[in-house]
């Protein structure tokens, strides 16, 4: 792998929030005390106009990370090098601390689902995604950060647990992990898995980032909706994770029915109070 194009150029710690367009003006004018912000890569691919100008202004004041859904790493389709090249250019332009993606496939045969489609936990899928992550990392010249995805389907022919699959993937591909606690809880309810067991099976030294978000209870399943505050069971799991591995940079994700910025900042403060229990606050 080549030397990094921006990895760790701007250290990230504490709890940040996902940057959403409706908050950009307020963030630029008020400069709230946030340690870092995460940009949705797929909303930031434009090379002209307001979006890149605003992001350039934001990066003057905050370390940024990139979070995407379009790299399609788990798919058997050829990698979309034009798309990945645009991500690399964006990462370089914004000097992001890291790029994260999802453990899933999003397209096949050129048809894009715009959702995170689950891979089976099989040796074949493991070997495939390991090889693809390595290809992407070689091209980007840096390690990427792969997130455990929420899902509504599990397969009969899966042979290993989520934790074993993700752990082996991270070790073999030599990538980092993004542990989404909400996704772990959604999967626990949807599939009867054990989120805490997932945490215990993962190589936590490779976990570079934690996501916290809200789900929507659809009665028969939980939808990973990112449209509400972090729920009590997810906070409880976050406490368990902090006990296992404190100090992992954490992010509040809220993508739909987006509330005022102050609400996101309150959520971030709550996460900080859990992850830094010695400091006054909670």
């Amino acid at each position: 792998m080549e030397s990094g194009t921006g990895f760790d150029t701007r250290p990230v710690s504490g709890t940040g929030i996902g940057l959403r367009s409706r908050h950009i003006g307020q963030i630029l004018s008020e400069r709230p005390n946030l340690p870092w912000l995460e940009v949705l890569s797929d909303n930031a691919l434009a090379r002209g106009g307001l979006v890149p100008a605003q992001l350039t202004a934001i990066r003057e004041h905050y370390p940024l990370t990139l979070h995407g859904v379009g790299m399609n790493v788990g798919s058997l389709d050829p990698l979309d090098w034009d798309y990945i090249r645009r991500i690399k250019e964006l990462a370089s332009r914004l000097e992001v601390s890291w790029i994260s993606e999802h453990i899933c496939f999003t397209a096949h045969g050129g048809h894009h689902s715009h959702d995170l489609l689950p891979l089976p936990n099989t040796e074949e899928a493991l070997h495939h995604i390991v090889r693809r992550i390595a290809e992407v990392q070689d091209f980007l010249g840096q390690q990427i950060v792969m997130e455990n995805a929420s899902s509504y389907i599990s397969y009969r022919h899966s042979t290993i647990s989520d934790g074993e699959f993700i752990g082996a993937m991270a070790e073999q591909a030599d990538c980092h992990l993004l542990l989404d606690v909400n996704n772990a809880y959604v999967n626990q309810v949807n599939h009867g898995t054990d989120a805490l067991e997932l945490f215990q099976q993962l190589p936590l030294d490779r976990v570079r980032e934690v996501h916290l978000a809200g789900y929507e209870d659809k009665q028969s399943y939980l939808l990973d909706a990112h449209n509400s505050a972090v729920s009590p069971p997810v906070w409880a799991l976050f406490r368990e994770l902090v006990a296992l591995k404190p100090g992992i940079p954490t992010l509040i994700e809220w993508d739909n029915d987006i509330p005022p910025l102050a609400v996101l900042i309150e959520e971030a403060e709550r996460a900080n109070n859990i992850s830094s229990p010695d400091e006054p606050g909670e």
Partner: protein, 259 residues
């Protein structure tokens, strides 16, 4: 089940093609495989519909939320997304509406809808267009007299022009709020519009037919020789300096000289 087979079947399910082999591999656990697959189908449709709603807000205001959803579903089924970037999804919506106007009785009173959608697509594309460089006047001055006829002007990446038989500017302007306007004004002559981005601001302006013709020629990559033949020197001498000044024209290249 092999990974290739699984992924192909999954995507087929998302576009409504039943795949028994995949369904048999899905753990039911309180919900049928069909119900579980329907969650993904619903999520994908919602993502594409949201993209269409963001790109075509005025069309949505005019036809109403419920009918827009119905049209969007038909469109999404006919035009699967082929790119990871949802900002480029929906470019065929104007053509889709044009066909729907002739087949869907509910759209017969809205003959201008396809033109309106085209305007909204240009407006959306202008927002995301690349920034422009400024014209290289030194290089321009160095073009020899013999090669001046080979100059091809380059328009701003955000600029598009269109013509319509409907009072499109008034329709677009009057329906940008939450409520549709009560009536559509009449129009006796075709209308010509220019859509572009100036700094960070999106603009829609009425232009005259001669400006439209000249801009259309430039956007098609016509050489100065062809532009002069089609539009006359008067228009070009009058309009080009203005357009360079306002940024509509931001560069040039030289067509290959004839052998």
């Amino acid at each position: 089940m092999k990974l290739e087979e699984l992924q192909a079947a999954f995507v087929q399910e998302l576009i409504g093609q039943e795949q028994p082999a995949l369904r048999s591999q899905i753990v039911p656990r309180g919900m049928s495989p069909l119900q579980r697959l329907a969650i993904y189908r619903g999520n994908g449709i919602a993502a594409c519909r949201k993209a269409l709603e963001l790109i075509y807000p005025v069309c949505r205001t005019i036809v109403g939320d419920a009918f827009f959803k119905q049209l969007a579903l038909q469109y999404i089924e006919a035009y699967p997304s082929l790119q990871p970037d949802l900002n480029v999804y929906g470019d065929a919506w104007p053509d889709f509406l044009q066909r729907s106007i002739t087949t869907d009785t509910a759209l017969r009173d809205l003959p201008y809808l396809a033109d309106l959608a085209q305007l909204e697509w240009h407006y959306h594309a202008a927002y995301y267009a690349d920034d422009d460089s400024t014209i290289d006047f030194v290089a321009l001055q160095q073009v020899s007299t013999a090669r001046q006829g080979d100059i091809c002007w380059r328009c701003s990446a955000s600029l598009a022009v269109m013509q319509s038989s409907y009072p499109l500017y008034a329709i677009w302007h009057g329906n940008r709020g939450e409520r549709a306007m009560d009536s559509v004004p009449g129009l006796e002559e075709p209308q010509y519009l220019c859509i572009y981005r100036k700094d960070f601001e999106l603009k829609v302006e009425l232009i005259d037919s001669r400006s439209y013709s000249l801009l259309q020629g430039i956007l098609e990559g016509q050489t100065m020789t062809r532009l002069l033949a089609a539009n006359g020197a008067g228009d070009i001498d009058r309009l080009l300096p203005q357009w360079v000044q306002c940024g509509w024209i931001c560069g040039f290249s030289l067509a290959q000289a004839p052998q």
